[in-house]
């Protein structure tokens, strides 16, 4: 299910010197209508998660006597769930849990993938080893990987983070490896080498800055994938352990009550859609700006 949008293409060959764009291209991308809408959607959701304790007086696992109360019930603006827990509190703390998971998992996967790509760039033998490692991870489709990891660790927050990070390692690793290979063949790198610049300096000062663009787009894409994976794992019963709310967990708990109490599902439905659409819009805005 991991629907990765195609990563930004690296610049067509033939451009002789590499740097040609103002440094604040990412800011320019996010200033477009598309980028602004995306950031606004993500911003609202993130803010709601961060301010959770201020926005609701209930705890996410506090039970009141009211089961499946309708929205607008005094004290429960979004109503309550089957166990009488406040749905607004479950939603806000669910956002918090999701944000914590994806904010830990995506950078972790990106960092590991990039480290492996750097290792691959260092030596042909290492390259083969790293490439086969990526193949092996990719041989496990995302959710199968989730099942396998949970089989070892049992359900919980850590396995969710690990699954997301693991799935992202080959994505970032391949992206950076290709980028390095493309840049290394460019004339400006040859020129720098002829000029006596050391290998390490060429890598950090010339190659890496020019491979960063697709990685930035991929981070936005991977964040949406992380939201997918968290929700999917909750639906599969291998996500974060029950009383703790996440967006996916609340939604999957609402499934048996869709006919009776559709409001149970409404909060997470709207929030997940806003978050994922916002991230996709931001990713697309970045991608367009970079491809120009």
């Amino acid at each position: 299910m991991t629907t990765h949008t195609p990563p930004a293409r690296t610049k067509p060959a033939g451009t002789r010197t590499a740097p040609r764009r103002p440094r604040h291209a990412h800011r320019a991308a996010l200033a477009t209508a598309r980028g602004r809408t995306g950031l606004a959607l993500v911003g609202v959701v993130v803010l709601a998660g961060l301010l959770a304790p201020l926005l609701t007086g209930h705890g996410p696992t506090d039970q009141s006597g009211l089961s499946l109360a309708a929205p607008g019930t005094p004290g429960h603006p979004l109503g309550t769930d089957d166990l009488g827990r406040d749905l607004l509190a479950r939603l806000l703390y669910g956002i918090r849990a999701d944000l914590g998971i994806i904010a830990a998992a995506v950078p972790l996967g990106a960092a590991l993938g990039c480290l492996l790509a750097l290792a691959a760039a260092a030596h042909p033998v290492l390259d083969t080893v790293v490439q086969r490692t990526f193949d092996l991870i990719l041989a496990f489709p995302g959710l199968i990987l989730a099942l396998a990891v949970t089989a070892i660790l049992g359900p919980g927050r850590l396995p969710v983070i690990l699954v997301i990070a693991l799935a992202e390692i080959p994505v970032f690793g391949r992206l950076l490896r290709t980028g390095i290979l493309v840049q290394r063949g460019r004339e400006y790198v040859t020129a720098a080498r002829v000029g006596g610049t050391s290998g390490g300096r060429i890598l950090t000062r010339h190659i890496l800055p020019n491979t960063a663009d697709p990685l930035v787009v991929q981070i936005a894409v991977s964040l949406t994938v992380a939201v997918f994976v968290e929700g999917a794992m909750s639906f599969l019963g291998v996500g974060v352990r029950p009383p703790e709310p996440t967006l996916g967990a609340v939604l999957s708990q609402s499934m048996p009550y869709l006919a009776q109490a559709p409001h149970f599902a409404a909060g997470p439905l709207v929030t997940v859609t806003a978050l994922v659409l916002g991230l996709s819009l931001a990713a697309e805005a970045l991608n367009r700006e970079i491809r120009r």
Partner: protein, 314 residues
């Protein structure tokens, strides 16, 4: 082409062998001795030992691994520990349900993808274009569990025309089976249909910009005929390759869609086996899913190489 196959096949087999080793090793790391779980908390050590011997778990690990590979090659997977019945039967039943779901989804992918692509490239009506764009963007961005809940809300709760979950085998009762199949396969198909539609739209638009289309228009051939006879055939080949890749995605996505719609396929079997610590079922199932995925990838690579000779010489 044969050279490419000969180069590509061993690496696929190697990935499979590594995956089998990984699956075996991983499941030996699972906390909880399967024999102890089976015997129950009150069993004497002798009972546990007897169970362990019966299951072959007392043999050294390398022996167990080789024995398992042998079982896989002969197709005799032995009994399941906890769910009951033979592992091969359980997996066979689940596979039937999952294949049914995937084929249903594939049909939706082709029909909806073609509709999105052709309408997106040729429609002149603003509303039609807008609807297609919103649908494809939404289908791609929104996770399947959100679309799944929305579909149930719309078709089961609001309209009350389709069941919200469960399965009646299509071959046993076609009329009832279709009703159960519609929502899950639509939910599974939407993201792939959107991808396919986008590629098809680009392909048709590119083909329509070619000189031969201008010539055909000048010769008085109707737009409909130009689309059918000239633009579509030229836009199709890359889309067919894409369809192959998307089939792999569908199989992976089926695991989730099965959980949303209580569809008793391989994904549900995996979940059940995990919860009940049914070690052989989990092990064989994981390997089966990985094998299918690797095969789909291999096939896709082969089709690519067949369509694009440059790949063969890389």
């Amino acid at each position: 082409m044969r050279g490419y196959l000969l180069r590509r096949l061993p690496s696929a087999l190697l990935v499979l062998l590594a995956a089998s080793f990984l699956v075996f090793a991983v499941l030996r790391l699972v906390p909880g001795d399967p024999a102890a779980v089976l015997a129950g908390p009150d069993a004497s050590p002798e009972t546990e030992a007897a169970i362990r011997a019966r299951l072959g778990l007392d043999a050294p690990l390398p022996t167990q691994y080789v024995r398992w590979l042998g079982d896989l090659l002969t197709g005799d997977l032995g009994p399941s520990y906890a769910i009951g019945g033979r592992t091969a039967d359980l997996i066979g039943d689940g596979l039937g349900a999952t294949v049914e779901l995937t084929l249903g989804a594939l049909l939706f992918v082709v029909v909806l993808g073609a509709a999105f692509g052709i309408l997106g490239a040729t429609a002149r009506n603003r509303w039609v274009l807008g609807t297609v764009r919103v649908l494809t963007t939404g289908a791609l961005a929104v996770p399947p569990f959100v679309t799944g809940v929305l579909l149930v809300l719309l078709f089961s709760v609001l309209l009350g025309v389709l069941p919200p979950g469960g399965r009646v085998p299509l071959l046993a009762a076609p009329d009832l089976g279709v009703q159960y199949l519609l929502l899950p396969s639509l939910c599974l198909a939407l993201p792939s249909a959107a991808v396919l539609g986008r590629y098809l739209k680009d392909g048709i638009e590119r083909a329509l910009a070619e000189d031969y289309v201008r010539t055909a228009t000048a010769a008085g051939i109707t737009p409909r005929r130009i689309l059918r006879r000239h633009a579509l055939p030229n836009a199709l080949p890359p889309v067919v390759t894409l369809l192959g890749m998307q089939t792999g995605h569908l199989l992976g996505g089926a695991v989730l869609v099965e959980a949303i719609f209580a569809w008793p396929g391989l994904g549900q079997l995996a979940e059940q086996a995990l919860v009940r610590r049914d070690y052989p079922v989990v092990r064989d199932l994981l390997l089966l899913l990985v094998t299918v995925f690797v095969l789909v990838q291999l096939l896709t690579d082969l089709v690519h190489a067949w369509l694009d000779p440059r790949i063969r010489w890389e």
